[in-house]
């Protein structure tokens, strides 16, 4: 893989040139957090971010969108949400998240909405520095070797830029004079130092290799009931997870005529309605059963099929769940450490 150098000052001019023919999505500030958004003011692009509130999958499959336009003549696929896009500033863990979604949406039934959007989006990755929630080193998703067109490693004064595809190379060729082909020994040493320090910066870790067995061994453990008692079933963990992909479909008919739309929206297995079938029967009426499903999928079932967890260590569930049920606390509870970390409130004498 070819690696070149880009001066910090040259980033904005580069982003401006490449965004002429595509929407450029990049992290921008929202309150004291960050979100991916289409940018035209390149000074607003944030380089020193951790996780965005929603993962980048929202760019490929928006929370709600129209799948079909329906009329008397029949129905027609609606791919209007798909545009030429460039996604800049996506971190290694989130690129791994997209690779996991690729596996899922490329199975027996190809998902055109996801795959077409994916085909039309260039991935320009960016290195990051972990905060107290990140644990991508535990999931081995802190580094990335595939799944990007360009990858920028931020070394303070300059970027090292990995060229991951011919489409990525085409972007460089739009203005090659912005880049420097010659790396010095000093540049390489700067990269080695950055890499060593960054790997040391992860503040906590979890042993994922033992979790599939523990999920099986502790399948009937009272721990799940405790979790269920505290879970608000708000669906936030699922909505912010970069690898969650379930959806629901609703009909939308227009008044008076025969026209309508089929709307697809994000669903979550942690929500009660998810496991309800015709006739009102519900296979997972209990919150504990739904949490068990989510964690079994992330930490056990996916591993047995693909050899790695369906968790990329982004820390979004940790940053988001109001009652501290997340991969860290559930993982630690399964390991027998800090069993009550997720729910100190249960022990508080506040209600009964």
């Amino acid at each position: 893989m070819r690696i070149i150098k880009l001066k910090k000052d040259n980033l904005s001019p580069f982003l401006e040139i490449i965004s002429v023919e595509a929407d450029l999505w990049a992290p921008v500030q929202k309150g004291d957090k960050h979100v991916f958004k289409v940018v035209d003011d390149f000074s607003k692009v944030e380089l020193n971010t951790t996780r965005t509130i929603l993962p980048p999958r929202k760019i490929f499959l928006p929370p709600t969108f129209s799948m079909f336009n329906i009329s008397e003549k029949g129905y027609k696929e609606d791919l209007s949400h798909i545009k030429k896009r460039i996604l800049f500033g996506i971190h290694p863990c989130d690129i791994h998240g997209l690779l996991i979604l690729d596996n899922l949406f490329k199975q027996a039934y190809l998902d055109p909405y996801y795959l077409e959007a994916r085909k039309n989006t260039l991935i320009l990755g960016l290195s990051c520095w972990p905060d107290e929630y990140c644990f991508a080193k535990s999931t081995n998703t802190h580094i990335i070797e595939e799944g990007f067109d360009l990858f920028f490693t931020d070394l303070k004064d300059f970027f090292l830029v990995w060229i991951g595809s011919s489409q990525g190379d085409d972007l460089i060729r739009l203005k090659p004079e912005l880049f420097d082909e010659n790396l010095t020994d000093k540049d390489i040493q700067t990269y080695i130092n950055w890499h060593t320090e960054r790997d040391k910066a992860y503040k906590w870790s979890i042993n994922f290799t033992v979790l599939p067995d523990l999920i099986e061994l502790k399948y009937m453990d009272p721990l799940w009931e405790k979790l269920g008692n505290s879970c608000l079933a708000c669906g936030s963990c699922t909505n912010v997870c970069p690898t969650c992909n379930c959806y629901n479909i609703m009909d939308k008919q227009f008044l008076g005529g025969k026209d309508g739309k089929m709307i697809r929206h994000w669903d979550a297995c942690t929500l009660e309605e998810y496991s309800e079938v015709a006739g009102g029967e519900n296979f997972r009426k209990k919150r504990s059963d739904r949490l068990k499903l989510w964690y079994t999928h992330k930490l056990q079932a996916y591993i047995s099929k693909y050899g790695k967890p369906s968790c990329v260590g982004c820390g979004r569930c940790i940053a988001t769940c109001p009652v501290d049920i997340n991969v860290r606390t559930v993982g630690k509870a399964l390991l027998g450490e800090e069993e009550d970390a997720f729910w100190v409130r249960l022990n508080m004498e506040v209600t009964k």
């Binding site: 309150g31 929370p63 709600t64 079933a233 669906g235 994000w266 009660e272 249960l346 009964k352």
Partner: protein, 263 residues
């Protein structure tokens, strides 16, 4: 082609105690209003027309809570005449703000405070209750006021003989879709996790906490929400008041359970 009047479903839209916001919202569907009147035979809609008929109905949409003897009688009559009854708005679904005093004694005390010893001559006042306290309700369309999109979709589905298809999850889901930062995590009293979605998380989009005006979501984990807010330092009575503000009757069992609480 427009249907003949005899083929159209006969609809009535009624208002009991409330702010009339839901009926107003229906009128506010300006772009669709002609289509609404074309698609159905609107027999009664006091806010929209004067030639109202109180006959047999296919569907009655009822807004507001029952707070007088006369309204109770009117409601029982609507039920008798209508094949399907849809409660629209938080007041009809869960009692609304006027039903926040769940305890009969509390209500009597407050009634006296407001009206003193004045005699009510035209009708007998009742403790305010949602319409399902008196009649069987077929469908609920919550909101304060109801949402235009949800009303049109419900209206349309019922006209076609389908049950409404509404979001059955909490506000948090829509709130995340709108990529808001969680207010609970900022120690703000937000009722999103226990409140039904459908509003598009409009308050939180404007950095205001959810006050629960869509009513409780099915099987809301009120205990966990309450404990979480207690842990954040909110006073127990304050949390209860906030929770009961719009949907008192919807969470009456929970509030009853809390009575034996330790502080």
């Amino acid at each position: 082609m427009e249907k003949k009047i005899k083929d159209k479903l006969k609809i009535g839209i009624y208002e009991l105690t409330g702010c009339a916001g839901d009926a107003l919202l229906i009128l506010d569907c300006e772009k669709e209003l002609v289509d609404i009147f074309k698609a159905a035979d609107i027999q009664s809609f006091l806010m929209a027309k004067s030639d109202n008929i109180d006959g047999e109905l296919d569907v009655a949409f009822v807004e507001g809570s029952v707070s007088t003897e006369r309204e109770k009688k009117e409601l029982l009559d609507i039920r008798k005449r209508a094949k399907t009854v849809v409660a629209i708005g938080i007041c009809a679904c869960f009692g609304g703000i006027q039903a926040a005093f769940l305890d009969k004694k509390d209500w009597e005390k407050n009634f006296k405070k407001v009206y003193g010893d004045n005699k009510m001559t035209h009708t007998k006042p009742l403790q305010s209750k949602p319409i399902d306290a008196y009649i069987k309700v077929d469908y609920y369309l919550p909101g304060c006021p109801i949402d235009k999109e949800q009303f049109l979709s419900t209206f349309n589905r019922i006209l076609r003989g389908n049950p409404p298809e509404l979001y059955r999850f909490p506000v948090c889901v829509e709130c995340k879709w709108n990529e808001n930062d969680c207010l609970l995590n900022k120690d703000i009293l937000c009722l999103g996790p226990v409140t039904r979605a459908g509003c598009g998380s409009i308050c939180i989009n404007h950095n205001l906490p959810c006050v629960g005006c869509w009513g409780p979501v099915e099987n809301a984990n009120l205990t966990s929400e309450f404990q979480l807010l207690r842990e954040k330092g909110f006073d127990s009575d304050f949390i209860k008041k906030k929770m009961a503000n719009f949907s008192g009757t919807g969470i009456a069992d929970f509030l009853g359970e809390l009575k034996g609480e330790k502080r």
